[in-house]
Symmetry: C2
Subunit: 331 residues, 2 copies
């Protein structure tokens, strides 16, 4: 499906259509000039980028209320130029922040009363995002909560029901698409502040220049920060006490500010972890082009290697966090 000779790019996102991932993909890659493809799972998306059937993918990494998307972290731990990596050629080339609003929908043919609702369908991560609204209006002992693969699938499921006792929590986009009746909107715990952060990934061996296809998105952001962040994953030897503190001290030494740290089981050895660190370059100086990897970054990575068992640099991308909106960095 790769279109190296035309400007039509194939973009993968987690389906079904009208998911939040779809919305993010639409906002980064205009559907008028690109083809957007819903794929059935995160692992299908990573495979599609690794074997280059698709040019880019837009994948959620973290929600401001609910935390990290651990399935994506586990797949990212399989990326990087390591002989044993499942997806050695995947790299992160951009990030994108999508504000998330949830609505409660029922089918057109139902009596549109929330009193009758006995079952609510949505993606499992949404329960935690709408905890206050659900506890007040649909406590678990009165209303059954059923997990489905996506908020869009929940909307589709309810649109097919003739039973007025079913409801879905989904986006406006999904509700519109499936002709549902909206009973409530912005039911998330912190309306206006619930945001999902996405990564844009691609195959680093692509014939395209690294950000071809992303120019429109990136040029629309030029008013913002021109700072760059890197995503680095590593494991540390279990025999060295203090190795994590030593590794993190290297970032400080090179004036890289840690903006995020996450851990997941390595799945190679019990209670050994993969660390996911994002760090912001202190000063991009004259090297504002996304092509110009800082020599400073290379020196940091070389130094870091002294304290790590495995080490992967998974990408360098513009920081899109709008701190003037009250969104804050981690450190």
């Amino acid at each position: 499906m790769s279109n190296d000779d035309s400007h039509t790019l194939n973009i993968a996102y987690l389906g079904p259509e009208a998911s939040f991932s779809h919305q993010a993909a639409i906002e980064v890659f205009s559907p008028s000039t690109n083809t957007l493809h819903p794929l059935p799972s995160f692992s299908a998306i990573f495979s599609a980028i690794q074997i280059s059937t698709h040019d880019f993918a837009v994948i959620p990494i973290e929600n401001s209320t609910n935390g990290s998307v651990v399935q994506v972290l586990d797949l990212l731990s399989q990326c990087g130029l390591d002989s044993s990596a499942q997806f050695p050629d995947i790299e992160v080339v951009a990030e994108y922040y999508l504000p998330v609003h949830h609505c409660l929908f029922v089918a057109q043919n139902s009596d549109s009363s929330s009193k009758e609702i006995r079952t609510i369908y949505t993606h499992p991560q949404v329960w935690g995002q709408c905890n206050r609204y659900l506890s007040a209006h649909f406590p678990p002992n009165q209303v059954e909560r059923i997990d489905v693969g996506s908020t869009s699938a929940a909307a589709q499921l309810v649109s097919r029901e003739t039973n007025g006792s079913n409801a879905a929590i989904a986006s406006k986009l999904a509700g519109q698409r499936h002709n549902l009746v909206r009973l409530a909107e912005n039911i998330e715990d912190e309306p206006g502040s619930n945001t999902t952060r996405f990564f844009v990934v691609r195959n680093r061996n692509s014939k395209h220049a690294r950000t071809t296809g992303l120019e429109q998105y990136l040029s629309s952001r030029t008013g913002q920060s021109q700072r760059y962040k890197s995503l680095i994953t590593f494991t540390i030897p279990h025999t060295k006490p203090g190795a994590l503190a030593d590794a993190l001290a290297v970032f400080k030494q090179y004036h890289f500010n840690l903006t995020s740290i996450d851990t997941r089981p390595s799945r190679k050895r019990n209670w050994q972890y993969v660390f996911f660190v994002e760090c912001e370059e202190a000063d991009n100086g004259g090297t504002r082009g996304i092509h110009g990897e800082e020599g400073n970054l290379q020196r940091l990575l070389a130094d870091l290697q002294r304290f790590t068992e495995s080490l992967q640099h998974l990408g360098r991308f513009q920081d899109q966090l709008q701190r003037e909106d009250g969104i804050q960095s981690k450190t």
Copy 2:
């Protein structure tokens, strides 16, 4: 329900009966001398300990394959001697490692063939723990996966079905309790190495001495490490670059080895995080009693406060990790 004058303790665990939490509670607190109570949710358990209707609770914190139990982390971030904390008096007094084995069960009256299975029920975290077996035998496009509140609830649900197309993934204990037929056992990805770590928590104002009720469990572990770990939670000011590296350097300075680090959204400000750090004292010297909090720990906490916005010491407990079994520490 608190029994300050007798030796019968009331122990809370996440129900229903025959859950892995039940099994862990049985192994820490003998049911012959204590009363074990299934509670409906983690938040109900934290409330029960805070208001002292129960003496102890046994709660899962982390699985070696699947990572942290984020709902428990979020509740722990509400603990500590902070005026705004929801559960200011809860402290961690012990940890416990339970090896986890999953089995596939069908009802007695079904034809006991895995060919007929169309739907599998289990706790959402179990899908990730049995990924290889499920992908090979029950791919998602052929068999529907339905989340239920616990593996024990899955077993109960299947025991009531007359339809032979339903199966449950649950523990041997749950299968026995609900008279199910076992089709497969040890279906977890890494048989023998899948382990769940539990915390034992209690109210720090309890009239009981801090570990009364735990003596039997702790005395059974005396052959093991006498090292102590502490659980510390903190947030860091967003205005100070490098604050996380500075905070972690304090642990190193006091020779405390970081054994675990986790983050969750603070839910107070977007992209601000609560850090959960566990650290092992370098040398317990003469202070092996669990009552004798190291002066060293107090000095570490005082120093740490220079780099943190909020800081809570949530407990000090014996390290139960059996490194001789190939289980390794994080750093």
